[in-house]
């Protein structure tokens, strides 16, 4: 019970920090926007082509954006010297991870949903009929990215060259997320859209596996 209470309080803190400056959200949105425009030059952005490549393009943009967005997650605590205070204030350090990964999932999901209409317009892909399923894939995918990303940003924050290191550690680990989310999103953007339950299930399993790993080993990531 105290885990849940601690997490809620810490989540509130994460959200307050972000919504005061909105730094993460604005930079991430602009970054994805740039990637979406740049991608249009690499192939013929007609509707038929976009249906084929659109899902991969979207998820690649999300993945790259996340690897940038997750940088400050623990770095901020380190530069402000607040990590020890955080650790002392909660009984279970897992609460710190839960709060951070919930906040990151929320930020990522928010940016993705804000940019989905832009993508749909620019690439002429109708998304409204399958919107609720897209939200589910985006949620499961972003949750997976945030779980692994939050853990690894705790590692990279303690190393040299951390800005370069996080994408190097994170992106190969997220291969399964990229493969599965691209497939499920691709099926939803198809001319005859359908829900690929195997992919949804796979994403859920990925999230569960890494959440368990984080629960087992998370506290060691914050040792001093």
């Amino acid at each position: 019970m105290s885990l849940l209470a601690n997490t809620t309080i810490l989540l509130g803190k994460e959200l307050r920090t972000e919504f005061r400056s909105r730094e993460l959200l604005t930079t991430t949105i602009v970054f994805i926007l740039i990637v979406l425009v740049l991608f249009s030059f690499t192939f013929d952005p007609l509707s038929e082509e976009a249906r084929r490549f659109g899902s991969g393009l979207l998820w690649l943009a999300f993945l790259f954006a996340a690897s940038l967005m997750l940088q400050p997650c623990f770095l901020r605590e380190q530069t402000n010297d607040t990590l020890s205070a955080l650790r002392l204030s909660v009984s279970d350090p897992f609460a710190i991870f839960l709060a951070k990964l919930a906040a990151n999932t929320l930020f990522l999901l928010l940016t993705e949903l804000l940019l989905l209409p832009v993508f749909a317009m620019m690439y002429n892909v109708p998304v409204l009929p399958v919107l609720h399923w897209l939200v589910l894939v985006f949620f499961l995918g972003s949750l997976g990215i945030s779980i692994v990303g939050t853990a690894l940003s705790a590692i990279s924050a303690q190393a040299r060259m951390r800005e370069l290191l996080l994408p190097l550690l994170l992106l190969p680990l997220l291969t399964p997320i990229l493969v599965a989310s691209t497939e499920v999103t691709g099926a939803l953007l198809d001319r005859a859209p359908y829900v690929q339950w195997k992919g949804m299930g796979f994403l859920a399993v990925f999230d569960l596996v890494f959440l368990t790993t984080l629960w087992l080993f998370g506290e060691y990531l914050l040792e001093e």
């Binding site: 692994v148 853990a151 690894l152 590692i155 303690q158 190393a159 040299r160 060259m161 290191l165 190097l168 550690l169 190969p172 680990l173 291969t175 399964p176 493969v179 599965a180 497939e183 195997k198 992919g199 796979f202 399993v205 990925f206 596996v209 890494f210 790993t213 080993f217 060691y220 990531l221 040792e223």
Partner: protein, 224 residues
């Protein structure tokens, strides 16, 4: 003396394995002589995976016990595994070009091996970027655990969605399979490779232990 004996045994085993692979195993009915690279390729793949598994066990033991020896074993096994996986990635295309007509295909085994290789490159890279020995040991062990947990997920996702090429021959569907004599040669070759791995692992471990001792001595000297 012990070293010389060890090296002699490994050379003998590898020589016998090479002889068996080149002269004893029957020539493949369809592929002819080129298939004989399989004995090097598959045996290296299994040996590389064995080394990564040893590294994973050492990582878990380090996090649990905090004895430097597990850190030394972890990095030694990861490096040794990387050597064998590199052999796999090099011999694969050499075989594939004449048989498939292409150097590379994005099939489950190839792609997962490549991602696995990248993950352990990141692991070694991470180690070079953390100065403090205890922190380096702990954080890289944790990354190693995350990376190893990821491996089956990478393999599963790619096998389900990204494979264009037929069933594996070894441990595949019933009806597929090798000639019994080929199996014998392959397992012998694996045994020889495991001996080579043990030799490399031992040397690398001793080197890392020496390095650790030097580091401790230097720090004691600086304090004094």
């Amino acid at each position: 003396m012990k070293n010389v004996l060890f090296v002699a045994v490994v050379v003998l085993l590898l020589g016998a394995g090479a002889y068996a692979a080149l002269f004893i195993a029957p020539t493949d009915a369809k592929q002819g002589l080129i298939y004989r690279i399989l004995f090097l390729h598959v045996a290296s793949a299994w040996t590389g995976l064995t080394a990564f598994f040893i590294s994973f066990i050492a990582n878990v033991l380090y996090v649990w016990r905090r004895q430097p020896k597990w850190d030394w074993l972890g990095v030694s096994a990861a490096e040794t595994g990387l050597v064998f996986t590199t052999v796999v990635l090099v011999t694969g295309p050499i075989w594939a070009h004449p048989v498939w007509g292409i150097w590379w295909t994005w099939d489950a085994r190839l792609t997962s091996t490549f991602v696995l290789w990248l993950l352990y490159i990141s692991y070694l890279l991470l180690r070079t970027l953390i100065e403090e020995p205890d922190r380096r040991a702990l954080l890289s062990a944790l990354f190693g655990i995350f990376a190893f947990v990821d491996v089956p997920l990478v393999f599963g996702s790619i096998r389900w969605w990204r494979t264009q090429h037929p069933q594996p021959i070894i441990m595949g569907e019933p009806g597929s399979g090798l000639d019994p004599l080929m199996y014998k040669v392959l397992f012998f070759m694996w045994f020889a490779m495991l001996a080579l791995m043990a030799l490399l692992l031992r040397q690398r471990y001793l080197l890392e232990a020496m390095r650790g001792d030097v580091e401790t001595m230097r720090r004691q000297w600086e304090v004094a």
